[in-house]
Structure formats: C-alpha cells, structure tokens
C-alpha cells in the first residue's frame, strides 16, 4: 500500500506544522500556487508505521550477507553514524565563518592527510560527491593539465573493456573519445593492443586495479611506462581500493590521479543508493588542478581554499563542499582503523575472497580465472549451467534471496558470460562464507533436478519475480491514484 492510499483530505500532523497560519499577503497572487500539492495527508504514526514497515522489506548489511562484487558491502560502524550526527556537526551552516568551524575543519584536514598517506598521492581534495564525480574531476584534471601544457591534440581516453560503466561515461562527459582495450585470457590488460592504441592522441588511461575481474593487473608498472612515455596520464579508479588498502599504494604504481569510494573502502553506508563520497588524490603535477574547496592549515588554524587561492583548479563540483557528513563518517572510521587496521582490511578481505573462491571451486563451480589469485573479489561463471540446465545467473541470484543471502553482482563485468562477481569483504566471518557456498551447492542441485524452481524464484520475498520488461514498456513512474 502506498502512503498516498493512507491519506485522507484534511488530516494534519499538527506537531510538525508551525502552529499559526501566516498570510504572506505581500506575495502577489500571480506568484502563488493555486492549489495545494497533493502530498499525503497522514498522521505522524501512520507515516512512522508505513516507513518502518517498508524498511523491513529491504535486505541490508545490518540484516543480510550482501556479497555484491565491486560494491564492498562491509559493516558500517554505528559509531560513525552517531558521531557524525552530533548536533554541532548537523547545525553548522556551510557558510559559517572559520572561527565557528574549527572542529569540522580539523576533521576534514586530517582526513585529507590520511587519504594522501594511504594512497601515496601528493594531495587530496574531498570535494567529489561519489565515485563517478571523482572520475569526472580526475579526467577533467587530466584535460586541464594537457591544456595548460598546450597539448590539446590529446582527444582519447583508453579504457579496458572490463571497466565499470562510469569510466567510459565519464570520459564522454569530458568530451573524450573512448578507446576500449581488450583483456587477455588471464584477466590482464592486453599489452600488445595497448601499445598499438597508445599515441599522441592519448590523453590518458583509466584503470581499476585490482580490476573488476577480481585480479591484480600484474603489468601495471609496464602499462604506466607505456602510457607515460606516450605523454598520457594514468587514472586510478579506486572502487577496489579495499583489496590493497595500506598494502599497496596507487601512487607507487605510477598513477597520476585517483578517486576513492569512501562508501566502499571507508565503510560509509550506501543508504539504498547513496550518498557516497569520491575524494581525488593527485601526483605533484596535477595538484594545481584539484577541485575546490580544500582545507588548509596555517599554524593551528584551518581555513578553506577556494578558486581565488587556486586559479588553475578544475572548479567547484557542488554548491558547497561536497558530502561533508559522509566525510565525517569516513574520518571516524579511518581513525578507528588506524594504520595497522587499514592494512588488515586488505589482508582479510583478500583472505575471505580467496577462501570462498577455493570453496566454490571445490563445490564444482567454474571460476573465470582459475589460475589467478582472487583479490578481494572473484568471478564465477554459470555458463555451463546455463547451457546444460537452462538456468542462468539471474535465476541463481533470485534463488539465493530465498535462502537469506543477497545475490552477488550479476552480469558485470560484461566480459564473462553468466557471471557472478562475489565480494565477501573482511567483516564477514567464516561461518557465513561456508553457509553461502553450501547454499550455492544446494541451488546447483535444485538446478539439476527442478530447474523450474529457480526460474520461479524468489518465493519468500514481499513480491515474486518482477516484470522488468513491463516496467520499461508500460511506464508507471508516479502514482496517479
């Protein structure tokens, strides 16, 4: 039932409305709304009950194992939420003067420093509001750099075919042409093709390392050399930073610019879609182009650097300073981990993934890259099952829900047919991983004996399998009841 179906005309939730009506007769009639917007008219309890019950229809980290590859669904410490929601932080206006902002600025400054250190970059801006915006900032900086060097013939960005969709989409937004680089059978970038594609048109390359295939790009240093020698820059998509946090620094690999998804590696919550934060880090030569604002410290006082201080900045990305509340959460998390804790993140995320990969292989599932180590995630292909039994990755995914596990990422990356990209994260314990593999085995059995069972799944969710095609064909995007 929709909230609108609970609405009754004339109902007012009095405790939430200012008590007196105000005439506003100074606003001429021509500017005034003729009719009230048909928002729901419900009591406070109706709203609370409605949304509390809706919430219960979700899977989430706080209720389920959620091994969604590339998404790093790890535990979001409750302390990060509570401490970022302290009244002093919530009430601060973005334009508050610096003398009323030192507490907040201190957190932001220290977060910049932590991110610099753990990534091995020269400078960090916290401005981007998600990974994709970080990518935008990064590629726009590459563009600004070439422009500043009067090197504007560089019109292409190289992107491996395994890359996340935001990479090519971002390149386009920055007006670059996208050149795809194929992946070889072992999951590494095809170096020969790379060498052919690279050249004076190359503005840069966008790489995810470990890649979205769940393997570490072994020739990263060679790639860096090839691209750099051609005059291009290297962009690091930090979505998979969890795999190497505190162990390997993108700066050491030769990257010029990186973004980090704090809502992955730094455990800020995904919130059913967002918000996130996508800080960018850069090497020395890109520093002048960083997005503003930045937090600077002079003696023991903090202040913001804006366009005025940073004339070459690629610009401002939000009305104020990005997703501050998310940054606070990441700061709290980073301080709780500390330097040793970060390294452990990478280690145990990797341990969990390799352990699950070993179990899955034993259970008879085909690995996409059986000869390789898993990083923090790995890929299983259900091509065989699809061919032999007529059940596909989606059927497995839906059936998993019935067993109380969120499905892994399906059909991404596109390279591997019928793939499941599985990322357990470091915060899950062995029992859960064992349980998941057992259930996968059970489903594989079901697929053999009763494939229709899988096709009809899920059975225990609030709805049965939804008709996506109808949704796109008979568009119903707003209630008109």
């Amino acid at each position: 039932m929709l909230i609108f179906e609970r609405s009754k005309p004339g109902r007012v939730n009095a405790p939430q409305a200012p008590l007196t009506e105000q005439a506003c007769d100074d606003i001429p009639q021509q500017f005034r709304r003729k009719q009230r917007a048909a928002l729901p008219e419900v009591s406070e309890m109706q709203a609370v009950r409605h949304y509390t019950r809706l919430s219960q229809q979700n899977f989430s980290i706080d209720t389920h194992f959620y091994p969604l590859g590339s998404c790093t669904m790890k535990y979001n410490p409750r302390g990060c939420n509570t401490l970022s929601m302290l009244p002093g932080f919530l009430q601060r206006h973005p334009q508050s003067p610096a003398n009323l902002s030192q507490g907040f600025f201190a957190c932001m400054y220290e977060l910049q420093e932590i991110l610099k250190e753990v990534t091995g970059m020269q400078a960090v801006s916290l401005a981007p509001m998600a990974g994709a915006q970080g990518e935008f900032a990064g590629v726009a900086m590459i563009r600004a750099y070439h422009k500043a060097n009067n090197d504007e013939g560089r019109t292409e960005i190289l992107v491996p075919d395994a890359a996340h969709g935001t990479n090519p989409a971002t390149a386009t937004m920055c007006n670059y042409k996208v050149k795809e680089i194929p992946t070889n059978a072992e999951g590494d970038v095809d170096l020969e093709t790379l060498k052919q594609l690279v050249g004076p048109h190359t503005a840069g390359i966008m790489l995810t390392n470990p890649s979205t295939l769940g393997v570490f790009e072994r020739h990263i240093q060679e790639i860096a050399d090839i691209v750099h020698q051609a005059g291009g820059l290297l962009y690091y998509d930090g979505a998979n930073l969890n795999a190497i946090l505190g162990k390997v620094k993108p700066g050491d690999m030769g990257f010029d610019v990186i973004h980090m998804n704090l809502h992955k590696t730094f455990s800020t919550p995904h919130g059913g879609g967002g918000p996130g934060a996508g800080p960018v880090g850069v090497s020395k030569r890109l520093e002048p182009f960083l997005p503003v604002p930045l937090v600077a410290r002079v003696k023991d006082e903090y202040h913001l650097l804006t366009e005025k201080d940073r004339p070459q900045s690629m610009g401002q990305l939000s009305a104020f300073m990005g997703n501050a509340g998310v940054l606070l959460r990441a700061y709290v998390y980073a301080r709780m981990l500390g330097r040793e804790g970060m390294q452990r993140v990478a280690e145990y995320a990797t341990l969990n993934a390799n352990y699950m990969m070993a179990l899955m292989a034993r259970a008879g599932f085909d690995l996409a890259y059986p000869g390789r180590r898993a990083t923090h995630e790995f890929i299983v292909s259900l091509k065989k099952q699809a061919r032999e039994l007529g059940v596909n990755a989606m059927d497995f995914a839906k059936r998993l829900l019935d067993y109380g596990f969120h499905a892994p990422t399906t059909y991404f990356p596109l390279l591997v047919p019928e793939c499941l990209l599985i990322e357990p994260t470091e915060t899950e314990d062995k029992t859960v991983l064992d349980g998941f593999v057992e259930v996968m085995q059970k489903i594989a059995e079901e697929a053999k004996h009763d494939p229709e069972k899988l096709k009809g799944a899920p059975y225990t969710m609030p709805v049965r399998r939804l008709d996506d095609i109808k949704a796109a064909k008979e568009l119903d995007l707003a209630w008109n009841g």
Binding site: I27, F31, Q95, V248, K249, G273, A319, V345, T427
Partner: protein
C-alpha cells in the same frame, strides 16, 4: 581487530583450504616492489570511546550558533521521526536496489518520492535524485542539450540572479563539451531578470535557466520568461526551492506550457545543514523527455503473480548499460537523503509544508522590518521575495560579521565577492525555526556593533578650530 571477526583458528583453517601458508602469500601476484607500503603518518587506531571524545569535543567547538545564513542551505525544523527512521539499518546499509525483490522497501519509497516531487512541481516525471542542487543544474543543462533537438548552439542563458555556485558548478561540469553558459544581467532595482530586457530575437539558444526564488530571494517573472523562451524554441530549466513551492506557482504551470526541466536543491526537505552535505539534487521533467533524464528512475510493475511491485527502470539510459553513451556518468546518488525527504514530506503534508514556507517568510519579513530600522542598514531590492533578502551595510561587512560570529551569530551570506557591484551586501534568511527573540538578538547585535564600529571609525577627533 577492528571490524574483522576472524579468530586465529579460523584463519588457519582458511589458509589451509586455500593451500597457502600465510595471508601474505595471497598477494604474491603483486610486483614485490609495490607491496612494501607503509603508512606511518596515519595515526594508530583508537577505539570508539576515544574517537567519541574527539568528535564530541570538535562538534562542541562549532555548536550552538544562531544562524541567519541561507543562500541555498536552510535551517528548517526536522521532525525527529525523519532521521530515526532514515538511519534504520535496513535503509541506511542497503545498496542500490539492484535486486528489486529484496529491496521493495527502498524502491516503493523512491516511487512515492517521485510521485511527491511530480506533485510539488506539477511535472510528469521525477528521477530518484542527483548529487545536489548545483550539480543537478549541470545535468539539466546537459539534458536540455540532448532534448532540444531544434537547437544546435549549445548556448544556455543563465541569469546572474542564479546562485553563483550553481553557475560555477554548471560551468565546471559542462564546459568541456563546448556548452556555453551566457550570463544575463539583472535589474538593479528589482533584483530580478527583467523580461522586458530580453532580446526579441535571441538566435539559437538551447535553454533558459529560471531560478524561483532567485539567489537574492527575489521572485522572478516566471510566466513571462517561460513564454518568451518557448516562443523562441528555447527550453526552460527551472531551479526552485521545494519549500517555496508550497506557496509559489509550480514550474509545471509557469506560463502557457510550463517549464520543461525542473531541478533544485532538496536539502530543505529534511536534510540538516551539515556543513553543506550530504544533500540531494532533484530533477523533474515533462513526459517526452523521460529518456533524456539522467539518474535512476523507479517504475511500478507487477510480479509473476500479478502483484504490484517496484523496480529500477529505463536503465538503458544509464552508464552501467549504455556506458560511453549514457545520459550521465552518475551511479551512486543521494538515496538516503531522498529517504529522509520522503518521510519529511509525508510527516508535513501539504498543509504543514505550506505553513513552514509561510512561517519562514513571515519571520524574514519581520526581520526585514527590524533591520530596516537600523541606521546604516538598508534593504536592497524592492520586488516581492520569499524568505530571504539582501541588505546593504554602510560599514565594512567583514568587521560586522566577525563581531557577530564572536557572539555565535552567523549573520548571513556575504555577496561581495560574487556581486562586487552591489557593495557591502549580505543575504539574510530567517526560517520558521527563529523566534521573535532570535530576530531581536540579531537586530540588537547589529545595532550595537554598528554603533561601536561607527565610534571606532570616527575616533573623536580633536576639534581644530
């Protein structure tokens, strides 16, 4: 180990299963030179108790101000229920609802949100959020370029009465694609874009951006501007404050045909000021542009048994399907803020929202009267406004603001940098959260400070004669 559940025994078993001796072996494909990273400058880990202390202290440092700043971020009362429900684990720690059947909570809520936004704006379609108001405008500009098939110019008219940061952000995001934002001057008396000054023949223009209210709080002649644009095949992008819409004509009803694309900052709907974010950008449009819309959209459909349910739809617009040809690169959006906004709107209802708007405006009106009575302070623009107004100060604004801040008062948003031609100007806002006593506190503080500054400025000079 913080947030890692493994016991030593388990680690041993797991390594055995994998067939390696140590965790370090799992990193053996990484070139040796790379794995020697240290991060010595990062402080050692501390526990929740210790970071609690730090955060309580820091939050305390910045707390308990009396805030009259608006300028795109407004302090409204947020019902307690909003964030108590929003931060429930099931909303707070869910991912994007890719597995629809296991995400009906988020999906139905987003569908309800979309419905609320179309009703508030009187538009056909709403997406499920963008990052913030400023970046939403950038996306609206890109969308207009895609949608206006009659225009080839990529020329967008942007009045200077639009929020300066929005102009900057839009420029940052769209200029690489050769899109030009051409600024339109405002009327110095009215503080608005005077429709009479618009060219009779503007040439090939892709879109006109119309803020309502504008950055100065002033109301624009939205009907005439919209009709002018449409008469020249120019799409209209409305930038609106959702709280204001409880009182003002919704963009879908501007002029003869209504705006084409509507966007804005969702913060006033239940998001705390929180140093500027996370907020959310909303975007609505007319039905015919739905396939040009960036960001996620939720659709209502049915399940195998014919029961209604909700799912992400029109994904072919998005980067994960369309890649380099997507309508935008946006992936993660601001879902949790939309959750808060939906609950906020449900708790307020149409009448509550109207009262919030009216009461904010009434407070600002009272403040206008009080400040107007102070010597050396004058209201700048004379046209109708909504809940925010510009004041000019005879004395140096910087000194005044500093003096206010020492008393914990955030006096407003300074306009000097972005509008040097206005002189010493301050944008001031009093929402429904302000009491009469608060307004007096500001007025009296300004009075006192003015007198003091006045005195310092003209030190009693020994009369010469």
């Amino acid at each position: 180990m913080p947030f890692i559940p493994h016991t030593d025994d388990e680690v041993r078993e797991m390594l055995e299963t994998i067939g390696v001796d140590s965790i370090d072996d799992l990193f053996d494909e990484i070139p040796a030179g790379l794995t020697a990273a240290t991060a010595g400058r990062i402080p050692q880990g501390i526990n929740e108790m210790e970071i609690s202390r730090i955060m309580h202290e820091r939050a305390g440092q910045d707390a308990r101000t009396l805030c009259f700043a608006g300028g795109g971020a407004y302090e409204h009362h947020i019902p307690a229920a909003v964030w108590e429900i929003t931060t429930r684990g099931e909303f707070y720690t869910a991912y994007t609802p890719y597995q629809a059947e296991a995400s009906q909570g988020t999906l139905q809520l987003l569908y309800e949100y979309q419905t609320m936004m179309t009703r508030l704006t009187a538009m056909d379609i709403s997406n499920a959020s963008l990052y913030d108001g400023a970046s939403a405008l950038a996306e609206a500009v890109l969308m207009a370029v895609r949608a206006n098939r009659k225009s080839k110019s990529k020329r967008i008219l942007v009045p200077r009465t639009l929020h300066p940061a929005y102009r900057k952000v839009a420029h940052t995001i769209v200029h690489n694609q050769g899109i030009v934002l051409q600024e339109l001057e405002y009327d110095p008396q009215g503080g608005h874009l005077d429709p009479a000054c618009l060219p009779a023949d503007p040439g090939d223009v892709t879109a006109l951006v119309i803020p309502q209210p504008n950055f100065f709080g002033v109301l624009e002649e939205v009907d005439r501007l919209t009709d002018w644009a449409h008469a020249h095949n120019i799409l209209v992008i409305a930038v609106v404050n959702p709280i204001a819409l409880a009182l003002l004509t919704p963009p879908g009803e501007w002029g003869e045909k209504g705006a084409d694309i509507v966007c804005g900052e969702g913060q006033p709907l239940g998001a705390p000021l929180s140093s500027g974010g996370p907020y959310f950008g909303f975007m609505c449009c007319r039905k015919e542009f739905v396939r040009q819309m960036p960001g996620r959209i939720i659709g209502r459909t049915t399940d195998l048994e014919g029961k209604p349910g909700y799912t992400l739809t029109l994904q072919a617009r998005e980067q994960h399907i369309r890649r380099s040809k997507a309508t935008s690169n946006i992936c993660t959006n601001q879902g949790l803020l939309v959750t808060a906004a939906t609950i906020y709107m449900a708790l307020l209802g149409p009448q509550g929202l109207e009262r919030v708007a009216a009461s904010s405006h009434a407070n600002t009106r009272r403040l206008v009267e009080k400040l107007g009575a102070i010597k050396g302070v004058s209201k700048v623009f004379e046209r109708p406004y909504f809940h925010e107004a510009v004041f000019r100060f005879d004395l140096p604004l910087e000194d005044i603001l500093r003096a206010l801040s020492v008393q914990g008062i955030v006096g407003g948003v300074r306009l000097t940098e972005d509008y040097p031609e206005l002189g010493n100007c301050l944008l001031v806002c009093a929402t429904e959260t302000k009491t009469e006593a608060d307004l007096d506190t500001l007025a009296e503080a300004l009075q006192r400070i003015s007198l003091r500054l006045q005195a310092n400025r003209c030190p009693v000079q020994p009369k010469m004669a």
